[in-house]
């Protein structure tokens, strides 16, 4: 965001250009009054005056307050004000956005003239860039910054959630699964069909956003163009730099914040829970597709109808969604101590999160974190520091995993008995084809366990040494240690797959869902070592030429290893340790190494801060490629022109309101090395064993085709932009147009099975373009005690595969081919619904089972057949537009802020349980029952009601089921009240805010089947539902 960066970056993080700590001026916008008491007994004396700017213009809207009281007013259009001062004594405080706050002692005067100085802070603001910092106004690249102050008090459980709405960044947070609710992040489109995740660095070290406490983040910088080139081979998907909070010189501060929220599912399919209606409609569906036997006979339905009154255990009438889904809660405590002296600054933060999800069991998450950040000036020339971030987090899932549970949960039928009278898990009086293993949702949640736990610590030490000739040497060493199970590998740390048996409600005959329990323990150990050092220099020559240079080298080694063990043979579900099992023990394990060696440098030049130039280069060597292909060189150049600094511009009358007017351009070449390890090496894999006469004999096989020539993927990025700021920051505008061309994209190529049935090789194929623009616009103002802010971010990206060597990557519903976006939909085109048998007879059709009420596919090539050749390319899995906007108002100590976020131009393809009717024994939604074709309802929304597994003709991949996935949602709305200083100072507080939040509470979308912010690459609904959160909390500073 280009606004609201109220805090400065003080952390001793990435080795910076020029070194030295930039201490920020105090914030202008807050704390108008101090703790003196008001004395109402004094007589009021009116004081008049006028407020103007340094160039003599009157300033309207300036807040004028008698210090230590609630007495205040606002200057009028001519800058004049009148205020009644108790006893005519005291000090007036003048504050106005964009200007430095000024205090004027009244000294018994009744008229005052005050000149406010412009606050140069906005112009001094610095931004963390790769291996250094840069004054924000002098940036020449497309860089977005986000001050976490702006997201303060929001119930954010993962830093990725804070990036919603940052221009050019698409965050998709699919589901609200406790402990695993990170969003996927795409910066300016999708450049590769491989890993498209941006590189994330925390205080200069590559790290996982999920493993840091969001409350300890100071700022997030997103490098979107050639500015990322300093990270070379990992930069092509953009780079996110997270800077954590450090200490500040001055008074020791203790900050405590707490929030507690209630969570509810945003969207759950509207399934039919009336057992009679369910059975009748299932029968109807079977008849409609030509079956002559149905699942439930009339006698059975009658039996059920009577049974509901007399034996609700056997003939239940229940809504499993109501039974299984409850309100969840989320609470967070954060405590931070910070302070410092000339010699040393420190920050120590403790965080605790406790979350219980919306299912009645098996979705609990906790997070405990410690963050220590300390910097000491050993001598005048030597500064050393350390950052230690450690987090223990854990979360639980249903024994078989969340996706498997939701899959089965969305198959629950109204005729399932949850419990028998004796407390055993029930199944169903009538069997239903497709429902063999009666997956009682209560049983699946309450039996067994699935725990994920990890401890991850990032320890970084650094030393900055000032050398003669303005040189600074910086050495940095980071160690990242993970124990447990990282999210990346999806390993449960501890899983007990329990006995699961349900019983027939009448006969008590068991149905064995899982008769062979096992225990599984997975342990991952990762040790990532990063070392980098830089030498930097800056010099001002002849008062006009600013020169800077930096050179450095880095070495990063990622070691991963895991081992897992599994054993069967448990008596029951009580003892779950590996030691309690008895038969068939199995083990597995693997370790990997991955090395990156880099040399990099940056040179910068500006002339009077008017003409700005910046160039970076990086040479990376990666162990992921073979000798001869492993080194790549990347670079970025950018230039800017501060037109506002030009004499001619300053001389133009009436333009003095302009704070910043800069145009800039950049070009860079970035890389991507994201291929699986050892992809270049043809290997013979083990584990393809065969048991001759029940004796296992080791087997080996070549399973993958290999392209030994694979090398870096390269992205050429062009960006032209402008930054504009006026009226002391009241209006800000940034605009960027970009073009990204990725060549030699790495992807796994599908090859025909006739080539030995091998998995296709990772190969450099093709060219992908992402072209678009980002706009950000903000306006904020203060009118007396009233402040408001309107800000918006908008990004457009057009993705197109330019060249794929003529190849096409075709999946079940998607295709990647030249001339279309990556992973476009590839579907039959539906022309309508067959109304008559004659119409069926006279047209090409997908099979001879087609009948009236079925979908009519278009025979694109008019060959009289409907087959794969009749598919068309349509739709997009990548949103064309991403946007977000803030609306905020405050009056005195009350503020209301809201944040909306949306995407446009993306399609979803809902399928399987509860998306399609009676999917393999699953139920159906009211939507389907009410809108299906019948001869009497020929213009229905849906085809004739059938089972989706029985009448596959209607559920072929077709345009009929493609849905617009665009949405706009009120991501957050927050009402906050800061208690008056006069009140809280008595209890030694310097700030106390209380707030309420609503998260995801309003969504505008045409997508009606599920929450639209779902996993786009997965077409079914088998994911943890998205949640809305209502929370309240306090934020106190001592």
């Amino acid at each position: 965001q280009s606004f609201a960066m109220n805090r400065q970056l003080t952390s001793a993080s990435a080795g910076r250009v020029g070194g030295g700590s930039q201490q920020p001026p105090l914030s202008a916008a807050s704390h108008l009054v101090n703790s003196k008491e008001q004395n109402n007994k004094m007589a009021d004396v009116p004081v008049q005056g006028r407020v103007s700017s340094e160039n003599g213009e009157p300033l309207p809207g300036v807040t004028v307050v008698v210090k230590g009281t609630n007495v205040g007013t606002t200057s009028g259009a001519d800058g004049n004000f009148t205020i009644n001062v108790p006893d005519g004594k005291g000090t007036l405080v003048f504050s106005f956005i964009g200007f430095l706050t000024q205090e004027v002692a009244i000294n018994n005067r009744t008229t005052l003239s005050v000149t406010l100085a412009a606050d140069a802070k906005a112009l001094e603001e610095v931004v963390v860039i790769g291996y250094g910092t840069e004054k924000k106004v002098n940036l020449t690249g497309a860089v977005s910054t986000l001050g976490m102050k702006q997201k303060e008090n929001m119930p954010i459980t993962n830093a990725s959630q804070a990036l919603h709405g940052v221009g050019g960044v698409w965050v998709n947070q699919a589901g609200g699964k406790p402990g695993q609710d990170a969003g996927s992040i795409r910066i300016r489109g999708v450049g590769t069909t491989n890993n498209s995740n941006p590189l994330v660095l925390v205080d200069g070290i590559e790290y996982n956003m999920n493993d840091i406490n969001p409350a300890t983040i100071e700022t997030i910088t997103v490098l979107k163009d050639a500015s990322a080139a300093i990270y070379g081979s990992r930069a092509a998907n953009g780079v996110i730099l997270v800077t954590t909070k450090g200490g500040k010189k001055g008074k020791t501060e203790v900050n405590y914040s707490f929030s507690h929220g209630i969570q509810r599912a945003t969207f759950i399919p509207d399934a039919v829970w009336d057992p009679i209606l369910y059975m009748q409609s299932k029968n109807q569906a079977l008849r409609n597709e030509g079956k002559t036997t149905v699942d439930y006979s009339d006698a059975q339905i009658e039996e059920y109808r009577n049974g509901m009154a007399t034996n609700p255990y056997a003939y239940p009438n229940r809504n499993y969604f109501d039974e299984i889904i409850k309100n969840g809660y989320l609470q967070q405590h954060n405590l931070r101590f910070s302070g410092g002296s000339d010699k040393m600054v420190y920050s120590l933060a403790l965080g605790y999160m406790d979350q219980d999800g919306i299912f009645i069991a098996a979705n609990h998450a906790n997070r405990y974190s410690i963050d220590l950040n300390a910097t000491a000036n050993v001598t005048e020339k030597v500064k050393v520091g350390a950052t230690i971030k450690s987090m223990y987090r854990k979360y639980t899932e249903p024994a078989q995993g969340t996706e498997a549970f939701v899959n089965r949960f969305f198959r629950a039928l109204p005729i399932f008995a949850s419990y028998l009278e004796d407390g055993r898990y029930g199944n169903t009086v009538f069997t239903t084809p497709g429902q063999n293993a009666i997956a009682n949702p209560h049983m699946m949640l309450k039996e067994g366990l699935n725990e994920h736990a990890s401890v991850r610590t990032l320890a970084k030490v650094f030393a900055d040494i000032s050398l003669p000739f303005n040189l600074t040497y910086s050495a940095n060493l980071g160690v990242d240690k993970l124990d447990g199970a990282s999210d990346d590998l999806n390993g449960a740390s501890r899983q007990f797959n329990p006995y699961m048996t349900t019983y027939h409600p009448l006969t008590k005959v068991p149905n064995f869902f899982n008769p062979t329990p096992y225990s599984y323990v997975y342990n991952q150990n990762n040790l990532n070592l990063s070392a980098y050092h830089t030498l930097s220099w800056n010099q001002k020559l002849a008062e006009v030429h600013n020169l800077s240079a930096m050179g450095g080298m880095s070495y990063t080694k990622f070691n991963t290893s895991y081992s897992s063990s599994q054993v069967f043979g448990y008596f029951d579900n009580t003892l779950t340790d590996i030691n309690a099992g008895s038969i068939n023990p199995q083990v597995s394990g693997r370790r990997t190494e991955d090395v990156l060696l880099s040399y990099f440098g940056r040179v910068g030049y500006d002339y009077k801060e008017k003409y700005l130039l910046d160039a970076t280069i990086r040479r990376d060597g990666s162990s992921r490629f073979d000798r001869g292909n492993r080194w790549g060189t990347y670079y970025g150049v950018s230039a800017g022109w501060r037109i506002d600094q030009e004499a001619f511009f300053k001389n133009i009358g009436g333009l003095s309101f302009v704070d910043l007017f800069k145009i800039r351009a950049s070009y860079g070449e970035l890389g991507n090395q994201a291929v699986p390890l050892y992809s270049y090496a043809p290997t013979v894999n083990l584990g393809f064993d065969y048991a001759f006469n029940n004796t296992i004999a080791a087997g080996a096989a070549v399973t993958n085709a290999v392209d030994p020539e694979i090398h870096w993927e390269t992205t050429n990025t062009y960006d032209v932009g402008a930054d504009f700021s006026a009226w002391n920051g009241r209006l800000n505008l940034s605009f960027d147009v970009f073009k990204k061309r990725t060549t030699d994209i790495l992807r796994q190529v599908n090859i025909p099975a006739q080539v030995g049935g091998l998995t296709g090789p990772q190969s450099n194929i093709g060219v992908v373009d992402n072209d678009g623009y980002d706009i950000s616009l903000s306006h904020r103002n203060t009118i007396g005690h009233f402040k408001y802010e309107v800000a918006g971010e908008f990004g457009y990206v057009k993705n197109e595969v330019v060249d794929l060597n003529g190849a096409r990557q075709v999946g079940t519903r998607r295709i990647t081919t030249e001339g279309y976006p990556i992973d476009s939909y590839y579907l039959y085109e539906v022309e309508g619904i067959y109304q008559t048998q004659d119409e069926v007879n006279s047209s090409a059709k997908i099979s001879n089972a087609v009948r009236p009420g079925y979908l009519k596919y278009k025979d694109q090539n008019n060959d009289g057949k409907i087959n794969g050749d009749d598919r068309i390319i349509t739709g997009s899995t990548i949103p064309k537009y991403t946007y977000g906007f803030n609306l905020g108002v405050s009056y005195k100590d009350i503020s209301l802020s809201s944040f909306f976020q949306g995407i446009q131009g993306v399609d979803l393809y809902p399928t399987a349980n509860l998306a399609t009717p009676f999917n393999n024994g699953a139920g159906v939604t009211h939507e389907w029952l009410n809108n299906a074709w019948t001869p009497e309802n020929p213009n229905a929304k849906f085809p004739i009601l059938t089972t989706s597994t029985g009448a596959t003709e209607n559920f072929q991949p077709s345009t009929f089921w493609l849905r617009d996935g665009s949405y706009l949602r009120l991501k957050n709305i927050q009402l906050k009240y800061n208690l008056p200083i006069s009140l809280i100072s008595k209890i030694r507080l310097s700030n106390l805010g209380v707030f309420v939040n609503g998260e995801n509470i309003l969504t505008f979308t045409k997508f009606r089947d599920f929450d639209p912010e779902k996993n786009i690459t997965q077409d079914n609904f088998y994911e943890y539902p998205s949640v809305k959160t209502f929370s309240f909390g306090i934020n106190a500073t001592f």
Binding site: V595, S622, R630, Y678, F688, Y690, N693, V702, P752, K865
Partner: protein, 507 residues
């Protein structure tokens, strides 16, 4: 600094250093066998048992692996079509072929004894022949690739003619037969390909060639070739120890694996490895539910069909049936795992389930085996099949001579029919019907009938029919398009990847 960047995997070999020892070569051969367990071939959940559901013998209500749409005649080549089997049989066959081709290309580099090397080559050729035979029997002509997998040279190869593929299959099987022992002395080698296995698969391939689907001119020479091939296995019986296993019920249980009737089987092992799910599907899923039509096909215990036997009582259709019926089928009125069986419980789909290839019977108790936990070997070829192949081919080539009677009577004798002898004096046509019914009964539920009704060209009658439950309730009407459905389509996914693959007619 280059050394800093050299890393290597610790859990797999690079190919350059692999082909250096006998142990490694043997492991590569084991990898060729392991493909047999893939779901497109004889493994997965229960692929060979599900194949029965594409025939009048059984019904798969939830379209497991796409066999039901094949039965309905509504399958297509479309990638989203739920006929996974059409995609997977193609891919898995080529996976096996690719591994065999790699081994044959590399094994000469490996220092090891010539005797073992030659035997291993012969085993590999057997497997390659078997994998190609599946392709030519289901899809027709396919790309014939005999070199080590190479995307650059093989990815765009078009289909060869079916005849070319068949010739190569026969060549591989003959070379395999020449290099393979009649049986293995070491117990740990049981399950490897033998001379009899190669000759037996050759007989199956030649029988397919001789059958009406291919042999449209009814060339007697082709029947003779098939008969001779089956006879070669029968002649090998004394040396290889082949004979019918005395107990038809326990022939299909894990306790009797590798018995004298087995000519080639897929060796499953659980729980150390992922086994199949035969027990789960017959006990619980009921996705290979026998149909009334199969029940009615079983003889009465006097060896006569229900239409001819005085013992048949339509009111009590399960009384006085032949032993194989009770050894293969669970029916309403039966007892299963200690509980009574009714027409809708526990086998709701048709009222029946298969006992064959399941470990469960009347008795209660026993292990409850779930997905992947069954280790019963699947017999790709057993001696009874050889006898029936011989009888069929010889009857077509010569007529019902004494050897035809002997072969079929041997099967009926073991089945326990009283009397077991086919009455003398049958015409060739009468004998044909007897042999076909015998095949259907003897091999019921084992996954061979689908190819039988295709090669006999009877599918267009028996698959254009309504299917019924035990209560004679109609379930659904199936269709079969004779101009299309005798062959499977080339999977659209493959045609998307290799545009040179032509499609079969009408798909």
């Amino acid at each position: 600094s280059e050394d800093l960047l050299d890393t290597q995997p610790y859990d797999r070999y690079t190919e350059t250093i692999y082909w250096t020892s006998e142990k490694n070569a043997v492991a590569a051969l084991n990898g060729c066998y392991a493909v047999l367990k893939e779901d497109g071939l004889f493994g997965g959940t229960a692929t060979p048992l599900w194949e029965e559901t594409a025939t009048p013998n059984a019904y798969n209500y939830d379209n497991s692996f796409g066999f039901n749409v094949i039965a309905l005649g509504t399958h297509t080549a479309s990638p989203a079509n739920p006929s996974e089997i059409i995609n997977n049989r193609w891919t898995d066959s080529y996976r096996g072929i690719g591994r065999c081709n790699t081994l044959l290309a590399e094994i000469d580099k490996v220092p090891m004894s010539d005797a073992l090397k030659n035997q291993m080559k012969a085993e590999t050729k057997f497997l390659r022949g078997l994998y190609y035979s599946l392709l030519e029997m289901y899809y027709g002509g396919v790309p014939l690739i005999l070199d080590k997998p190479n995307a650059a040279t093989q990815a765009e190869l078009p289909r060869n003619s079916r005849e070319e593929v068949v010739q190569q299959v026969l060549k591989d099987l003959e070379e395999a037969a020449a290099g393979l022992p009649a049986k293995y002395s070491a117990a740990a080698d049981k399950g490897r390909a033998t001379k009899g296995a190669a000759l037996g698969i050759k007989a199956r391939v030649l029988l397919f060639e001789a059958s009406p689907l291919i042999n449209t001119s009814n060339d007697a020479g082709k029947w003779t070739a098939a008969a001779n091939a089956a006879k070669a296995v029968m002649d090998l019986a004394p040396q290889a120890g082949y004979d019918l296993f005395p107990n038809y019920r326990t022939l299909f249980l894990p306790t009797n694996e590798n018995n004298q009737e087995v000519i080639f089987d897929v060796q499953f092992k659980a729980p150390e490895q992922t086994g199949n799910s035969f027990d789960l599907i017959v006990r619980q899923f009921n996705t290979n539910a026998p149909l009334r039509d199969l029940i009615d096909a079983y003889y009465m215990k006097d060896g006569l069909p229900i239409t001819e036997s005085p013992l048949y009582n339509p009111a009590k259709p399960y009384e006085n049936r032949e032993p194989r019926f009770y050894q293969s089928i669970v029916y309403p009125g039966d007892t299963y795992m200690g509980a009574p069986v009714t027409a809708t419980n526990p086998f709701k789909i048709t009222g029946y389930t298969f006992k064959k290839y399941g470990i469960y019977d009347k008795e209660a108790g026993g292990a409850i085996l779930n997905a992947g936990q069954s280790e019963t070997n699947y017999m790709v070829l057993r001696y009874a099949d050889i006898l029936l192949m011989y009888a069929e081919a010889q009857n077509e080539a010569i007529g019902p001579d004494a050897t035809v009677y002997a072969a079929i009577n041997k099967v009926r004798q073991r089945a326990g029919l009283v009397p077991y002898e086919v009455p003398a004096g049958k015409t060739k046509a009468q004998m044909r019907e007897i042999i076909r019914r015998e095949r259907r009964i003897e091999l019921a539920g084992e996954g061979f009938y689908y190819t039988d009704i295709r090669r006999w060209k009877t599918a267009e009658q028996v698959l254009n029919a309504t299917i019924f439950t035990s209560q004679n309730q109609a379930i659904v009407k199936r269709t079969f398009n004779p101009t299309r459905d005798y062959w499977w389509p080339i999977p659209q996914t493959q045609r998307d990847l290799n545009p040179n693959l032509t499609q079969n007619d009408v798909y």
